[in-house]
Symmetry: C2
Subunit: 146 residues, 2 copies
């Protein structure tokens, strides 16, 4: 019985050798996965990255290469760095809110008769609004591109 070629060998129109570096991580039922990493890194660069790793780490490396390639295709300017900028900004917002809340507790401890109004919900932990114009917070850029 001839085993089916992996997605990479199918894409590259070649025979799939028994020791194919791609076959375990790019199965034939998901051709888009290889097409995606091929478009951004090229087959030989993906092979090089996988080959330099011990076999137990290759699946995770293939997953993260695919993840980064998807985001670079979706957003050719920022790629994954757009997500990093977003998360960094959200973390900064959460920290500011936390500091503010801790200051309110300190105030309440010193003034037990006072009442503090609930904090306005101006902080939102929503990971889905990865909008291009929000990627480039200046503080983020200074931190990550230095």
């Amino acid at each position: 019985m001839i085993s089916p070629r992996c997605a990479a060998c199918k894409y590259l129109r070649r025979r799939c050798p028994s020791d194919c570096i791609f076959s375990l991580y790019f199965p034939p039922n998901d051709p888009q996965r290889f097409a995606c990493v091929h478009k951004i890194y090229g087959a030989s660069n993906v092979a090089k990255i996988l080959q330099q790793l011990p076999s137990n780490l290759r699946a995770q490396a293939a997953d993260t290469l695919y993840f980064e390639a998807q985001y670079r295709i979706q957003d050719p300017v920022y790629g994954c760095v757009g997500i990093i900028s977003q998360l960094y900004q959200q973390l900064h917002d959460a920290e500011s809110e936390l500091a503010k809340t801790q200051a309110e507790i300190a105030f309440l401890n010193c003034n037990p008769q006072e009442e503090v109004q609930p904090i306005e919900a101006n902080y939102s932990a929503n990971f889905n609004y990865l909008l291009p114009d929000q990627y480039c917070h200046p503080s983020t850029q200074n931190s990550w591109f230095s």
Copy 2:
């Protein structure tokens, strides 16, 4: 006067044409920058990504490609996705701490004679400890690789 070749053309041992796609973003005084993106993406893939963009976005794209390439060289398994996992985990921790603090304010408002002890500093917004064994928080993996 012959203008100096850009870092890419020097690396590729070729003449630097006047309309070189790399020259503005890979200056000759920073050869490492091109060597880095070349190692991960290859020259032709970097050129393709830059060429598809309007010229005012290319510098930012070159910066983010360099950033991602650096992290992939530093950490061939996780690359930039390691940073994303870290930030995601830190954000989750900050949110938990914020929720806890808000609950304490609500408690103080209902029990004005009570005193709440300052929150222990078990949350630390330190971006420098990007350690490999902290990359793979299960909740992060579920969210980002689905």
